[in-house]
Amino acid sequence: MNPIWLVTLAVFAPVASGAIGLCMPRSWVGTRVALSVLGPVAAVLLLAELAITHGVDHTGAGGVLAAEWMPELKLNWQWHPDRFGVFFALLVSGIGVLITLYARAYFGPDRDSLYRFYPSLLLFMTAMLGVVLADSFMLLLLFWEMTSISSFLLIGWERDDPAAVKKAMQAFIVTGAGGLVLMGGLILIGVHTDVWSFSALAGLAADGRLSPGPLLTTGFLMVFAGAAAKSAQFPLHFWLPGAMAAPTPVSAYLHSATMVKAGVYLVGRLWPILAAVLPVWPSLIVPLGAVTMVYGAFIALQKTDLKQIFAYTTISQLGLLMAMYGLAAFQYGGHGEHTQPNMIWEVAQILNHALYKAPLFILAGAIGHIASRELPKLKGLFYRDGTSRIMTVVVLAAAYCLAAGPLTVSFTAKEFFFYQIWHAYEATHQPVMGLLILAGVLTGMFNVAIFIRLARTLLSRQQPEADPHEHHDAHGHDHEHEKGIWPAFLWIPGAVIVSVQFIGGIIPGAYEAMFGWLEASPYYFEAGHFPLLWNVHPGVPLYMSLCAIGLGVGLGFAPLMRGKYNDPFDHAYPSFYLLATKGGGRVFRILQGGHVTGYIAFVAIALVGFFAWSIRFDFASLPGQWPGGAGLELDQLGELLPGILLTFMVCLTALLMPFVRDRASRVLILGACGFSVTGVYYQYRAPDLALTQISIEIVSLILFLLVLSMLPKQAPGPRLWVVPRVVLGAAVGLIMFWLTLTSSVGPQPTIHYLGRQYANLGEFFLRNSHHGEDSALAATDHGTLEHSELERRPTTKTRLYHGGGGKNVVNVILVDFRGFDTLGEITVLGIAAMGVWTLVRRRHGFKSPRERVMDEEQAAETGSRGLSLDIPEPTGGHDPEDDVVNRMIRPSTES
C-alpha cells in the first residue's frame, strides 16, 4: 500500500475504533473490548507493513505529503515516518494493545467506565501517533495539544473527586502552557529558516545551509521549554506525580511509556539538526537533565505509595534521556577505533524505560487491586496467596530492571549511558563532567536502593496489622466476583512486557535484532560492542555500575532517607493557583471598581499617556507638521467671517456648560451648541448634514427636557477635584486639537482604482457616483451640466456596474457605495429603540393579573425591590407632569 495511506490509517485507526465504540450500546462489553484492541493492533500492523515494505529511510526526502490542509498556516497533512518516528509509533501502538487489555481487567466488567474510558484512551493514542509521525510543525502542534487535552480528560477521570480535577488542571496548565511556548519556538525556527517541516529542516542541516542566529537560538530555547514541561523536567516536573490521580492504565500508558516521552521525542527529533549548530545545546540540556535525573530518583526513594515511587523514577529516567541527548552533541572525531562522531543509543534507552516502567505501573495497579499501594501495608505480600505471589514476582522482575541489574536490557542501556558520560569527559576534559559521573552513579544507587527496599517489603515474613475498614484502590467496583481469564490480565501485560527485558539481556542475538536496525549509532552493533553481561570490558563504565550497585544495596538496607524529604514543588501549583485567583481578583477590583468617573479618567489618562509616549522621540517636529498659516485663509476674511462667529458661539456654549449649574439652562446651552454646529456644517457646504442635525437637535432637546422633568430637582453639590479635571480636560482638548489639525492639513493620499488616479477618496466618489463615467461631468465648464449628458445611457457593459446613478454624492455614498453601513446604522437605531422600549415598559406590562398578585405578595413579604429591571413607580417627587411624560414615552402605560 501507498505509504501515505499506511501512515494516515495507522494514526487514525485508534480514534476510529474509539468513535465506533461510542456508538455501541453500553452493554456490549465484549464487543467493545475487541473493537478497542483492534484499533492499536491495526496501527501496529500498518506500521510494520510500512517499515518492512518501504523501509524507514525517508530522511531528507521531504517527508510524505498526504494532502494540503491550510497551506497559508503551514498546516498540512505531512508525515515523516523515518527510523525514529516509526520506532516511537510502534512503541506507542504496541504498548497500547496491552494497555487496552489491561484496562479491561482493571475496570472489570463495569460497562459505564469502559464506555467512557476507551474512547478517551484511543483519542490519546491517535494524538500520540500523530505527534511522533507528523512532519509539519503545525501538525505536530495540533497533535501535541490533543495529547494534553486527552491527558487532562484521563487524569480527571474521577469527575466527582475535586482533588483529581485539581490535579488534572495542574497537568493541563503546565503542559498546555508548554505547548504554547513550543508553538512560539517552532514559529521562530520556521521564520528563521523559512521551512516548516522537520524533514525540510533536516535537509537544510544536511546541506550545511542552517545558519545559527538569535532567532534560531531563541526558538530552540522555547521549543526546549515546551519539551521540558511535557517531559516533566526539573523544575516543571511536579505535574507528573499529580497526574497519578488518573486510573492506573493511564499512568502506565500516558505518564510513563508514551506521552511524557513526547518532549524527549522532540529533542531527539531536533538533535541531529540543531546540536551541531547551537553551542547552547549541551550546556543547557545536560545540566538540566542531570539535575532532574538525580532529584527524581532521590524523591522516589522517600515515597511509600507505589505509584508515587514510580512517578518519580519516571521523572529521573526522563532526565537521563534528556541528558543523553545533551551529551550526544559532543564530538568524538578520531578517537581510537570509534569513527562515529556522536555516540547515542536513544532507541535502547527509550525502549528500555518503557519496557520496565509500564510493567511497574501495571503491577502497581494490580497490587492495589488485591491489597494496597502503600508500602507498609504490603509487607509479606509474597506469602498471601497464589495471585499475590505471581504479582510479586513480576513486579520484582520489573523493579530489578529499574535497578539496572545484570542480564537485562536495562543493564546494557545503563552501561551505554555511563560509557557516554565517560567519553564526554574524555573528549572535553571538563571537571564539570566529573559531576555528571557522580550524578550517574547516584541515580543508579537510588534506583538499586528502591529495588532492595521493595524486595525486602514484599518478601518480608511479617504481615501488616489487619485493618478491617481498609479498602484497596477505590474505583467504585468490586473484583471479588469476577471469574475467568480477565483478572489474570491485571498482570499478564506486565509480564509480557518485562520478559522482553530479560530476553534482550540474556540472548545476544535478540538484543541486536531488537535494537540494531533502529539505532542511530549502528556501528557498535556491527562490531558486536554492546555490553551484555558477558562481553563488558573492564573500564570506567563498568566500575561506575558496580559502584552504583554496591552503594545502592547498602543504602537499601540502611535506615537512611526513609520518607523524610517531601518534594517542595508539591506546593508550586497550589501557590500559583492562589496567586492567580486572589491576585487577579484584586487587580479586577481595582480596575473595575464601579466608579464611572474612574473609568473615564482611566481612558482620558491613557489617551494623554499614549500621546505623550508616541511623540516622545520627535517632540521638536510637532510644530513642523503644521505648515504655518495653512487652514486659516486670512485673505478671504469676508468668507471667513461667519466661520469666526460660529466658532465663537460653539466655544462659548461649550465653555459655559461646566459653569452653569441650573439643569434646564444647561440643556438649553447644549442645544445652542448643537445649533451652532449646524451652522458649521452649513459653512462646510454640507446641506444634508445641516438639515439632519437641526431636526435631530430639536428632537433631542425636547427629549432631554422631558427626561429632566422625570428626574428630581437636586441642589448641585460643591465642585470636587476641579484642578485635576481642568488639567485633564485641557490636555485632552489640546491633543484633540492637534490630532485634528495634523489630519486636516497637508497632502491627502492619492487613490488608484481600475487604472485611474484620484487626488483623494472624495474625488473618487465624486467622479463615480453618477454612472462611473466622469468625462462628461469633468468636461463641462462652470457647473453648467448638460442635461442630456447626465441622462446618457451607459454605452458599454462595464458601465452598468459603476456608479450609483445620483447627483447628490453624499446620498449616493450612503445608499449605494456604503449601503451596508447604512443598514448597520438602521440596525443600531432599531436596537436602541428596542432597548428603550424594554427599559421603560411598565413593571407588569407582560404579566398576567394572577402573576401580578403573586409578585405583589412576594414583594410585600420580602420588602425588597429585587434585582430585575422592572421599574417601581416613584414614591416621592412625583408631580403630574411626570404622568404626561410617562404617557408620551411609555405607550404600554395605557394598556
Binding site: R685, L711, G729, S743, G762, R818, V840
Partner: protein, 114 residues
C-alpha cells in the same frame, strides 16, 4: 476655516472631558453628547477648507470645486447613531434614578459594589 474647526474641536473636547469627570450622572451624559459634536467636527475638518467650494452635488460646479463628500457621509451616519445612543442613555438615566434613587456616581459605585 480648518484652524477654526480645530479650535472648536479642542474646546469642545476639553469641556466635555471636564464634565464627564463630574460626580453626577446627568452632567456625565451631557458631556458625552457634547463630545459627540466635537467628534463630528473633527471628521468634517478633514474635508479641508470649504471656502470657494460648492456642496457635493453633481452639476453645481466642476468636480474640483465640490466639497469632499466622504466626511459628510460619515457624519450623517454618526449623527443618527449618536441620536440613538442619546435616547438610550437618557432612558438609562431615568431608570437609574428610579432604581437607585440617586444620580451621584459615588453612591452608585457603592451600590454596585455591595
Amino acid at each position: 476655516m480648518t484652524l477654526l474647526t480645530c479650535i472648536m474641536v479642542g474646546v469642545i473636547f476639553a469641556a466635555a472631558t471636564y464634565m464627564m469627570l463630574g460626580r453626577e450622572l446627568k452632567g456625565v451624559c451631557m458631556g458625552v453628547f457634547l463630545m459627540g459634536h466635537g467628534a463630528n467636527l473633527a471628521i468634517i475638518a478633514t474635508s479641508r477648507s470649504p471656502i470657494g467650494r460648492e456642496p457635493p452635488v453633481l452639476g453645481l460646479a466642476r468636480i474640483s470645486e465640490l466639497a469632499d463628500p466622504l466626511p459628510q457621509a460619515l457624519i450623517l451616519t454618526a449623527i443618527v447613531i449618536g441620536f440613538a445612543v442619546q435616547a438610550f442613555l437618557l432612558t438609562l438615566l431615568v431608570i437609574t434614578w428610579r432604581r437607585s434613587r440617586t444620580l451621584q456616581l459615588a453612591e452608585l459605585a457603592v451600590e454596585e459594589g455591595a
